[in-house]
């Protein structure tokens, strides 16, 4: 039996094509994944991301616990409502999950984790809690729904739907949040566009979704979500990283704080492990479509090397194929590589990603 979000029937009523996404019955698209992609880049679209899990951590000195639990430094969170992107690591430095931490007060932080990893994440958090901070209360919030409204007009349309939300959220910068009545509104997302991710009581989700639709926000499925995040150069857990990879070889060194004195789980392993591989962007020169797990081959200084595409696909905004690939650190932006596609070797160029941000092509 597949798990369902509070919006399952709503998706079906809107003729969504539903698919099994890691055990969740989720909308792939509502007709055309390409149209949904463009709608988000040019106007406003919404995604049901209720399969992701908010986890509330409450009690005395949550901050102290999080200093150990995650690789980024929660001391960067000084203003209530501020959010931080981080990895949670194994002692070996492998990525258990990537997540967003919201600082609500010194006694209440909220962490939003991926759907596919939610159970193991919570188990890991509880295990660490028992060792490091047994007084803390950790509560998975399956009673909440989450809707991402994304696109250049996303915020305006949310303001039309939630009375009083404009005044409360207009001044929010990226990675800040505010609470308006039953809505937790964060200026975050997974598309490279402006917008909000909104957490609300599950029972209110269908009405809110329909109100957004009436305000002109297009429903968008997991298909568009994947092409948008790939263009935005954002990692997908399980594809671009997992427990066998550390942040340094996954394009996430910027999320690891090695400067402060603070110790965190996985820190020593990261300090002890030289980084041999990196995540790079690829733009396909020849015709075709790059896909995850395709082999990348090339030569540098007369030495043959190999790598692999971790996420590949067609970029609707650029109208050509792009990918993230894991290659040796010696490979530099501007290099040309070959990708093995069926019986052919296609030429691709190494680029600095993101590929697209705020509607503009950057490569």
């Amino acid at each position: 039996m597949l798990k369902m979000t509070p919006l399952n029937q709503t998706h079906r009523d809107m003729n969504a094509k539903m698919v099994d996404f890691g055990g969740w019955d989720m909308p792939l698209h509502y007709g055309s994944q390409l149209d949904e992609h463009h709608k988000v880049r040019l106007d406003a679209g919404m995604f049901d991301v209720s399969h992701m899990l908010p986890v509330d951590i409450k009690g005395d000195n949550v901050r102290g616990f999080l200093r150990s639990l995650v690789a980024n430094n929660v001391d960067k969170l000084t203003l209530p409502g501020k959010a931080l992107y981080s990895c949670m690591l194994t002692p070996q430095g492998g990525i258990i999950d990537d997540l967003i931490i919201y600082f609500l007060s010194e006694t209440w932080f909220r962490i939003v984790v991926n759907a596919g990893t939610a159970d193991k994440d919570v188990a890991w958090m509880l295990k660490q809690r028992d060792e490091l901070a047994p007084n803390l209360e950790i509560t998975p919030r399956r009673d909440l729904a989450m809707i991402a409204v994304q696109g250049p007009n996303a915020r305006t349309k949310v303001w039309q739907v939630i009375p009083g939300s404009q005044a409360a959220t207009e001044e929010l910068k990226q990675f800040q949040s505010a609470v308006v009545d039953q809505y937790f509104i964060a200026r975050t997302g997974y598309t490279g566009e402006d917008g909000f991710e909104i957490i609300l009581p599950a029972a209110d989700a269908p009405t809110f979704w329909k109100a957004l639709h009436a305000a002109g926000v297009a429903p968008a499925g997991l298909g568009a979500r994947d092409t948008l995040r790939l263009e935005a150069g954002m990692n997908l857990y399980g594809q671009d990283m997992d427990e066998t990879r550390n942040p340094m070889e996954s394009g996430l060194a910027w999320t690891v704080d090695l400067k402060s004195e603070r110790d965190f789980i996985g820190k020593q392993a990261l300090l002890d492990t030289p980084t041999a591989q990196q995540l790079v962007g690829l733009v396909l020169i020849d015709r075709g479509v790059l896909r995850s797990h395709q082999q990348v081959v090339g030569q540098r200084d007369g030495v043959e090397y190999q790598g692999e595409i971790t996420s590949g696909g067609f970029s609707p905004t650029m109208n050509q194929s792009i990918a993230l690939a894991r290659l040796p650190v010696q490979i530099a932006v501007g290099d040309e590589v070959s990708v093995v596609v069926r019986d052919k070797k296609l030429r691709a160029k190494v680029v600095k990603y993101p590929f697209v941000r705020n509607g503009k092509v950057l490569v």
Binding site: L28, H29, S32, L34, P316
Partner: protein
């Protein structure tokens, strides 16, 4: 969308239209494009290539996946729909007018082995369960 009764079908979701000049036109079915989603890349066979029945001869890629197209019958490729390469979305708009290639059959008996519309409809319906 109803399945045209004037065409023949393969189990691998290609449609075949026998033409007056003895050639056949080949494309992929509405059902196939529906499964694949928005098409973004098409690779067509070379004109003049001799194909065997069920041989991989073209590639249709959507945003979601790559699918091989198999030749429904044996024969020589006499024409390809080159403009389709720049507009793969035409397949989503109307799979039965967005043809891929034409063949001169080398074994006309193979045509009789293809499915008629009623049998193909049944195949598609059973797939859904």
């Amino acid at each position: 969308m109803s399945i045209p009764t004037n065409l023949k079908y393969s189990k691998s979701h290609e449609w075949v239209k026998p033409e007056a000049d003895g050639t056949v036109t080949v494309g992929i079915t509405h059902h196939a494009q529906e499964l694949l989603g928005d098409m973004v890349f098409i690779e067509l066979p070379e004109v003049g290539r001799e194909l065997k029945q069920k041989e991989e001869c073209a590639v249709a890629e959507s945003v979601k996946a790559a699918a091989d197209v198999y030749s429904p019958i044996s024969g020589e490729v006499t024409a390809v729909n080159s403009p389709l390469v720049d507009e793969p979305g035409k397949i989503n708009e109307d799979a039965y007018s967005a043809w891929l290639f034409k063949l001169k059959p080398s074994n006309a008996a193979e045509l009789d082995g293809l499915l008629d519309a009623a049998t193909y409809t049944e195949l598609v319906e059973n797939e859904g369960h």
